[in-house]
Amino acid sequence: MNEVKNLIWKEIALEWRQRYALSGVLLYVISTVFVCYLSFNLKRNFLTPIVWNTLLWIILLFTAVNAIAKSFAQERHGRLLYYYTLSSPQAIIISKIIYNCLLMMLLAGIGFGFYVFVMGNPVIDLGLYIVAIALGSVGFASILTLVAGIASKAENSGTLMAVLSFPIILPTLLMTIKLAKNALDGLDRSVSMDEISTLLAIDAIVIALSYLLFPYLWRS
């Protein structure tokens, strides 16, 4: 446990020193939202709720793929060997997943805030919508972390990351969009219990698998 905490702290500290990746992805989110806003060329509240919801989640999806792809690409080879001798692969993958979850929740929150700022806010059940954002961020982060690990070991990791991640992330994406839409429409919360439990189940399976499989990935 201590190991994991130290590793998370290391990631946050490293990130805070340069803020390179963080500011890059933050700029990405804000630019994308702004591009969508300008391209739709609308007064506020003119998008139908379905389009509003889906557009937000597609933006968050691309942001997630970009942000998490960097999490493995950043470390140079020598440093990786150093970590290999210091800590267990399980600790490394858990710490990366937790760090990516926190990062995604931060980015999703800021992205959502800016999106509401320019595109209007048709959300009725804001509490459930925030829960949807949190669950979606955790889902994206847990799946994409392992895929980023896989892609980082291959040659053309940029294309591979995109190609590998989009089909795999689809169940999570669809469930999250449905949950968010329910929140947006203000439906009764019990209606969404199916989606929430499926999302939690997928997260649990993915994190367990990452924990078991990462040691095999690590050995090179």
Partner: protein, 225 residues
């Protein structure tokens, strides 16, 4: 003969399935009419695909424990056969949908999930091709295979049930047991399923044995030349 009895069984079962499928009597259902015969082909192919992909995942797990190249070969070939059956399932399903639901690709969640499942495994093939070193390729594609299968199962089973779907058994439609409660169809359906699965095993078998022979040949050439 002792080792090849199952191949002869495959041929017999598939001939039986095709013959009975196209010429045998089938129950009459509204909308479906004669196209219910596709049950022997389309649905059985999906079962065969899932079996192939399951076997592929099992060999991936074996590879991670044993590090034998043979296990990785088997895992890859079973996955490819699984993809073949998946594509055939999509095509047969599309033909069926054209006659019963009006269009070759109605906006149905199970169809879309199946297509996404195929994309996942195509990405697996792409991943395999992007490695030069055999051991690395084997290990990393084994990891991806296990992960992909774990996502694939909820994708095609859980997701369509939670949303509206045209497929029987999902989204409020009666399950397809109301079609093959007819014991006549069951008589053809189960053998057909087993026949397609055995065919898949046969194809994969030939392919990974060919691979093994190629590998031995390459090693011999390297030693000689």
């Amino acid at each position: 003969m002792k080792n090849n009895w199952w191949k002869i069984l495959t041929v017999i079962l598939l001939f039986y399935a095709i013959f009975q499928g196209l010429l045998g009597t089938v129950p009459r259902q509204p909308i479906l009419n004669e196209s219910i015969r596709n049950l022997y082909f389309h649905v059985t192919m999906w079962f065969a695909m899932i079996t192939m992909l399951l076997v592929s995942m099992v060999y991936s797990v074996r590879y991670l424990r044993s590090n034998l190249q043979a296990d990785d070969d088997k895992s890859a070939e079973f996955a490819k056969t699984g993809i073949l059956f998946g594509v055939l399932g999509c095509i047969t399903g599309s033909l069926w949908a054209n006659f019963t639901w009006g269009e070759p690709w109605p906006n149905d969640p199970k169809l879309n999930s199946a297509a996404v499942g195929m994309l996942i495994y195509f990405a697996y093939l792409l991943l395999r091709s992007s490695f030069e070193d055999e051991q690395r390729r084997a290990r990393i594609s084994a990891v991806y295979n296990i992960f992909a299968f774990a996502i694939f199962l909820p994708l095609i089973f859980v997701l369509p049930r939670l949303t509206d779907s045209l497929h029987p058994g999902n989204g409020g439609n009666p399950a397809f047991s109301s079609y093959d409660l007819d014991s006549q169809m069951r008589l053809v359906f189960y053998p057909a399923g087993i026949g397609w699965i055995l065919l898949g095993v046969w194809i994969s078998n030939l392919r990974y044995r060919t691979k093994a022979i190629q590998r031995i040949n390459n090693e011999r050439m390297e030693i000689a030349g």
